[in-house]
């Protein structure tokens, strides 16, 4: 058995694979970040460990006794300050946190940051967060032995060894394009480089399970624990995204398009570019368009319009709908990242008339989310990344009409890949690699099946999409004035 442990944003997961890569058990336990001040997002790391312990203990005891390797994945970008034993000295600061905006001024210019780090500086990343801690909690920072990303802190507790790896490091704004710590940048920023742990390869063992944690979890002591990786790249691995140029669209609360790249992608202020967590023969980087509002906007629209989901789909896609090309929905309920990078923008319905009914508004919401994803795809195109098809994560359970709308707006064929808990699965695969049970070549056979969904069937969204982008451009400055929007 091979065990994957995932520290997601909202829950921990544990997943067991047998020697053939079949899922034998999966458990999860939720937790919640807290916000002691506006814009803060923190959690006590012990809560993570308790949640994971609960998950693991819920797996069958016999199966747990047969685990031969553990892999890890976790939410990226955030920071845990701990002592040498892995006791957290303060709550972890997470990727949603926005306190470190002022500290961004300490970074090199945007052009230099892009060249050196591959990403535009933003507040919810380890580098700016450490700068904030240096300014506001200097004694605490001095007392810390390590500044670790979430899954690396977990591994310190599991193995007693502090380590890092390239995929998570590349999301800290403290690493170069290869994902190695940029020690001269640390010096420029005035941060002590002793805080950053030495690198291990994501797919190799970075320690072994200590006796005491083994006892607590009901697992064999001494088994290898892989270095692991950030949840996004490990999910790509778990769902079988392995080839150069392969691209996957995930629509959850937000939407991400992840494209694997064998060669170093050109950096872009509108996109994110990080190291993968894959063995060295596989693509080393992925470039990502991250859109903030997908499922969360559709759920908001459904709720506000008084529909349950079946009624929402029937009204939006049913034959009785009178389509309205003058009606638009901006889905930006919480601001937007790719491509506008605009924290101030909010949602809108524009083009309302007396004949507009809730079916038309729901349809506009689906189209608006599709257009927002298309805008992200266009940012990838501008950077020189041009996928020829997209895998749709969870695609098998996506409503047929919504699938077709996505294809028609994105003008790409879709394949459905169904891999629930892809990060936890990918973590378990890394555990198997670290234990020497699987090799890189095995990963292709272990990939979940992909099923073609269809092709684009219409070009009717070309003009409405341009008008959607035009609408955003016309409204963009309006949202930011005082009196209506709070800081976010």
């Amino acid at each position: 058995m091979y065990l994957g442990l995932d520290l997601g944003t909202g829950s921990a997961k544990a997943l067991l694979l047998d020697a053939n890569g079949a899922t034998v058990g999966e458990t999860s336990a939720a937790y919640h970040a807290v916000s002691p001040h506006a814009g803060w997002s923190e959690i006590d790391p012990e809560i993570w460990l308790q949640a994971l312990t609960t998950c693991v203990q819920a797996l069958p005891a016999g199966a747990r006794a047969a685990v031969k390797g553990i892999g890890l994945s976790g939410q990226m970008h955030g920071v845990v300050l701990s002592d040498a034993q892995g006791n957290a000295l303060r709550p972890a600061v997470l990727w949603l946190d926005t306190r470190a905006v002022a500290q961004l001024a300490r970074y090199p210019t945007l052009a230099d940051s892009l060249k050196r780090l591959g990403n535009a500086p933003s507040a919810g990343m380890a580098g700016p967060i450490l700068l904030w801690l240096a300014e506001h909690e200097p004694i605490g920072l001095q007392a810390a032995r390590w500044a670790l990303q979430p899954k690396d802190w977990l591994r310190l507790r599991l193995t007693g060894i502090a380590g890092s790896e390239a995929s998570d490091a590349s999301g800290t704004l403290l690493a170069d394009r290869q994902g190695r710590w940029d020690r001269s940048l640390l010096e420029t920023l005035g941060l002590p480089d002793r805080l950053l742990a030495p690198h291990f390869a994501s797919h190799e063992a970075a320690g072994t399970l200590t006796a005491s944690l083994a006892a607590a979890l009901g697992l064999p002591a001494g088994i290898p624990v892989a270095a692991g990786g950030g949840d996004t790249p490990v999910a790509a691995l778990g769902s079988g995204l392995l080839l150069d140029g392969s691209a996957q669209l995930t629509t959850g609360s937000g939407a991400q398009i992840v494209v694997l790249r064998h060669t170093l992608p050109a950096p872009s202020a509108k996109l994110n570019c990080y190291r993968t967590a894959a063995p060295p023969e596989l693509p080393r980087w992925y470039t990502m368009a991250a859109m903030q509002n997908a499922g969360v906007a559709l759920e908001w629209a459904r709720r506000t319009l008084g529909f349950d989901w079946p009624a929402a789909y029937a009204a939006a896609f049913g034959s009785s709908l009178r389509t309205d090309d003058e009606l638009f929905f901006l889905p930006y309920l919480g601001g937007e990242r790719t491509p506008w990078m605009d924290a101030q923008v909010r949602g809108a319905w524009v083009g309302l008339s007396p004949g507009t009914d809730n079916g038309a508004l729901m349809r506009a919401a689906f189209e608006g989310v599709a257009f927002a994803i298309r805008a992200g795809l266009d940012a990838l195109h501008a950077q020189g990344t041009r996928p020829t098809q997209l895998r749709l994560a969870g695609g098998g359970s996506v409503h047929r009409a919504w699938q077709q709308l996505l294809m028609d707006v994105l003008q790409l064929p879709l394949e459905a890949v169904d891999c629930p808990n892809a990060s936890a699965r990918g973590a378990a695969l890394l555990g198997g690699l670290a234990a020497g049970h699987w090799s890189t070549a095995d990963l292709y056979a272990l990939a979940p099946a992909c099923r073609p969904v269809g092709e684009p069937a219409s070009v009717r969204y070309a003009l409405p999409y341009r008008r959607f982008c035009d609408l955003y451009a016309r409204l963009a400055g309006w949202f930011g004035r005082d009196g209506l929007q709070t800081e976010n």
Binding site: V296, L305, E326, L333, L352, S353, T356, P464, L475
Partner: protein
């Protein structure tokens, strides 16, 4: 007894008024609106008459003795609607209503053909008015135009069915763009610009004058005594003014109905067309009025109720009342231009919008946005009247929206005037019509046109105004950003 008939947009309302100023009974019948194409709005004149007759029968059944004592009828109605008749007074096509927006191009043509139009007619050419609609018919339905022998406004069509006579009245006629508003007579120049002449027009009377008598056949069918006179009547806004006693210069009201109107009586013709303010005759001699008009007002709340699946407006407003203050301050901005807009933008292509939706926005928040957005639209109108020199300290609030105390308070604080709700205000135009009937039967203005008693007073709340001002700035900043988008239709 006096009978008032108000031919509204969504219903026709009949009201029985006694000489003691008591309203004995009211009966209404709903009227469907037809929207065969986007921006179109039509109704069947035959359906108007049928609904009026049904309501009359119910009124008679409710108050048989009073009904049999009716001496005079007054008419009020939705303005601007074009009813086309052939040489035998047969209806040629569905009437094109005040909120139809198809005739935008024809407005430009009319203004080009007749540059003096705003000075003579007291108004800019707008698609809601009657004259541009007839130019549209001439262009798109030339056969019908060729057969058109007479054009009547909605209430005047009812008068034709009641009396057999084609007669118009000053306040309603002022909404056609064919009237020389200062001189209170048809303008040959304006008629010629539309391709029409005086012979297509009814003769004109003042609102408080006799226009005809009820035909014997109709009197018999309805159960009226013989010889009931029919007064000139008034357009719905002028009739509402008579209904709440706004008959002297400086009096006025805000009507929150399907449309939203700010109405102030003036002692002379005071046009200011550039601000898209209307200057019309009042339904009483030697008086005029100024109006700002927003095309969609209280109807916005009914529309939102349907959209969100709320049980009814009252329950949606109850949810809104439960919202904390912070939710109101973060509520989206609503642009109320669901059917385009008249005052102040004069833009038939404009549409509505909710701007600034966030995770906390709910149906209840949107309800507040609608109330506030409509109030801001009325504030734009009030500003246009003030810019034209009109000063107002107090206005009555009438129409369906007047039932909401939140709306009344928003208006008081936003417009910085005292708002007085008039009880029974929904019956405003029908009551005014009944009063005009009374005046035609020799009633004295001072006795007839009294202001209602009671009602609630709402004074401006400075703290509320402080909170509204920045939101009003955001409201005003939105339309200029969207104007071209609305205009560039695919």
């Amino acid at each position: 007894m006096f009978l008032g008939i108000d031919l509204g947009t969504s219903e026709v309302k009949l009201l029985l008024l006694s000489e003691a100023q008591r309203v004995l009974a009211v009966a209404g019948e709903k009227l469907p609106q037809s929207r065969p194409q986007p921006g179109w709005s039509e109704q069947s004149p035959a359906a108007w008459w049928a609904a009026t007759s049904r309501a009359a029968a119910r009124l008679r059944a409710a108050e048989p003795q009073a009904f049999a004592a009716i001496r005079a009828i007054g008419l009020s109605g939705q303005m601007h609607g074009a009813t086309l008749l052939d040489a035998r007074d047969r209806v040629l096509r569905p009437a094109i209503l005040w909120n139809d927006t198809r005739a935008a191009a024809e407005c430009e043509e009319l203004s080009a053909r007749c540059p003096a139009l705003p000075e003579i007619a007291g108004n800019l050419a707008m698609p809601g008015f009657t004259a541009p609609k007839l130019r549209w018919v001439a262009k798109h339905e030339p056969d019908l135009f060729a057969r058109t022998a007479a054009v009547l406004l909605p209430k005047d069509y009812l008068r034709l069915r009641l009396t057999g006579e084609k007669v118009g009245e000053m306040s309603d006629a002022a909404g056609t763009l064919w009237l020389d508003v200062a001189r209170r007579d048809w303008s040959d120049e304006l008629l010629a610009a539309t391709g029409l002449a005086r012979r297509h027009m009814p003769r004109l009377v003042e609102g408080n004058a006799v226009s005809g008598t009820v035909l014997p056949a109709v009197a018999q069918a309805w159960g009226l005594p013989p010889g009931v006179i029919v007064a000139g009547g008034g357009g719905d806004n002028a009739a509402s003014a008579v209904g709440i006693g706004a008959v002297s210069p400086g009096d006025g009201f805000i009507s929150l109905g399907t449309s939203g109107v700010v109405f102030v009586v003036t002692d002379c013709f005071r046009p200011n067309p550039a601000s898209a303010v209307h200057a019309f005759c009042h339904a009483l001699p030697e008086r005029w009025h100024q109006m700002s008009v927003m095309l969609s007002a209280a109807s916005g709340l009914a529309w939102l109720t349907r959209l969100t699946g709320a049980k009814d407006e009252a329950s949606l407003l109850a949810q809104m009342r439960a919202l904390p203050q912070e939710a109101l301050e973060r509520a989206p901005v609503f642009l109320p231009y669901l059917s385009g807009e008249r005052t102040p933008h004069n833009d038939a292509a404009a549409r509505g919008a909710f701007l600034g939706l966030d995770h906390d926005t709910s149906a209840a928040t949107l309800a507040y946005s609608v109330l506030e957005g409509v109030s801001f639209g009325l504030l734009d109108g009030m500003s246009a009247l003030r810019a034209a020199g009109t000063q107002v300290e107090r206005l009555a609030l009438v129409g369906g929206g007047s039932k909401s105390p939140e709306w009344a308070q928003l208006l008081a604080s936003g417009l910085e005037i005292e708002i007085v709700t008039a009880p029974g205000a929904e019956a405003g135009a029908a009551l005014g019509a009944a009063r005009l009937g009374w005046l035609a039967a020799s009633g004295d203005e001072a006795d007839v046109c009294t202001a209602p008693e009671g009602g609630q007073r709402f004074r401006p709340n400075p703290a509320q105004r402080e909170r509204l001002l920045p939101r009003y700035e955001k409201f005003r900043a939105a339309y200029p950003r969207l104007k071209d988008l609305f205009a560039n239709r695919a």
